[in-house]
Amino acid sequence: MSDRLPGFSTLAVHAGAQPDPTTGARATPIYQTTSFVFNDADHAASLFGLQAFGNIYTRIGNPTNAVLEERVAALEGGTAALAVASGHAAQVVVLQQLLQPGDEFIAARKLYGGSINQFTHAFKSFGWNVVWADPDDIASFERAVTPRTKAIFIESIANPAGSITDIEAISTVARKAGVPLIVDNTLASPYLIRPIDHGADIVVHSLTKFLGGHGNSLGGIIVDAGTFDWSTGGKYPMLSEPRPEYHGIRLQETFGNFAFAIACRVLGLRDLGPALSPFNAFMILTGIETLPLRMQKHCDNAKAVAEFLAGHPAVASVSYAGLPSDKYNQLARKYAPKGAGAVFTFSLKGGYDAGVNLVSKLQLFSHLANVGDTRSLVIHPASTTHSQLDDAAKIKSGAGPDVVRLSVGIEDKEDLIADLEQALGA
């Protein structure tokens, strides 16, 4: 057994999965069961006490979900992962381990509108206070740090405009502040960007998007980079202090460099309950097997579509980091050399009405609120995903009234361009 080094595509197919020990099934079986029998009372007690490896109840862990978790951990270069019901659930579970009521976290202002909403309103009721910073102004993150800051949250490729975040610069701020950097890597996927290589301590995903990739199953995941020392200063008691619900176990001491993933599982998922269905885990795993192929095609198509739009007389501007003229092109070359993703925005000279007109005339692009599907998608963020923001916040997050967002699929690019051409033309 030599320590040979398989590549990303091999991991996308194999990591976490092996033939089923009982049946020899080669595809990962769907373990559609709520619970798992114990060998005896001692085995049950060992499992409940976190002393043995094994399965108890699908709200805490499931063998199909475990394959998904290991696969994404391997693709991201993390020590462990935890799959949950959605990307939003991942964010709740992560912050529950880090923040006490009255604490703060700093978040990039350019985020998925649903996250802005969750952070601003839902988390406020938990006493978790978001402080906004501008990802184009690194100093704004430094200025936002206070003694109550417990984490920094950014997107690697930011929704909706596909702008690229300088992960390394913000990770330097996080390190100096002594707090973990959480990176939502949904729009990049680990095929384009591995945030842990650039200083992220925790990576979250909506698996619903490019990882699952087919627009058929919701899911979310949390990846532990194993890089953060939770033991210092009593700042993160969920990890450093004895846990009364587990007879006084200290998670960091016991689980070392994957303690955060364990905390998310045994303190977050167990008690908050957003478990992922094993069926969804199976669908997402199947999607991940082709991630490298799909993601490259998504990016190549997106670049062709962006170039077409940039040259069209009805288009006022295109915001796609893969275009040499784009303000994020330098960052895209550094962080995402294989492609700048497939979600971006453009604005029409005809403003809001032209946007509505375009959406109604498109025949291949589907008008819906998702991204990262095999199918090409279109939406008007100002009236949908970002509609709950006020006008100033819409513009700051890149979702002004004249902006249209595309998620470019894996169809033939000529057909996508022809569809846009006919819809823009008349």
Binding site: R4, L5, T10, N65, A73, L75, T79, N257, F258, R265
Partner: protein, 195 residues
């Protein structure tokens, strides 16, 4: 000299495949302490376990009598697993170096590291592992730990038997580079250099 910041899987695999008896210094009878469940797991996986803790002589740990010190083992032992803080490592290593025959391996538990003690052991041909847990490493290389969503950093296309009580598991899976946890190793190195 072994690089103690990032062990090749083959090094750990060779140790866990090779040793049969393990004396655990600092083994605790308290069933929520990590040493207790590492002891129990390694016993279940077929290792001959010896609990060493002067505070519990006269008692047993899972049927094995506690002994006060390594010199009370009374026979050869393959590996010493030290469940003590970094500051208490050196005296244990010094005692281990008086054993005849010498142990093949000295293992320091997760969070414990003493480079000077490691160098002394290595100078007489003893293999050293620091800041790792043998339970976690066994679970990782066998992929049993995968039940918990942990990145085992190994692959296999072979059908393994379902694990049962007391079964030794195969550790001979393919190790993977793309899935390595380099960032985690680097963080551990920075931490040990600061302390």
């Amino acid at each position: 000299m072994m690089n103690h910041d990032a062990y090749p899987d083959n090094y750990i695999r060779g140790i866990l495949n090779g040793v049969k008896s393990i004396a655990m210094v600092g083994a605790s009878p308290v069933n929520v302490r990590p040493s207790y469940f590492a002891f129990k797991y390694l016993a279940q996986r077929g290792y001959d376990m010896i609990p060493v803790n002067p505070g519990h002589v006269g008692k047993e740990l899972l049927g094995k009598p506690f002994i006060a010190s390594l010199s009370d083992i009374g026979g050869p032992v393959d590996m010493i697993d030290i469940f003590r803080n970094s500051s208490h490592i050196m005296p244990v290593v010094e005692e281990a170096l008086t054993l005849d025959p010498l142990p093949k391996v000295i293992w320091m538990q997760l969070g414990a590291r003493d480079d000077a003690a490691a160098a002394r052991a290595e100078s007489v041909g003893i293999k050293v592992v620091m800041n790792r847990c043998p339970k976690i490493e066994y679970g990782r290389l066998s992929s049993e730990i995968s039940w918990m969503g942990v990145n085992s950093r190994t692959l296999s296309s072979k059908r393994a038997p379902a694990p049962t009580q007391g079964m030794r598991l195969s550790l001979n899976r393919m190790s993977v580079g793309g899935g390595t946890t380099t960032a985690s190793d680097r963080a551990a190195k920075n931490k040990s250099e600061q302390s």
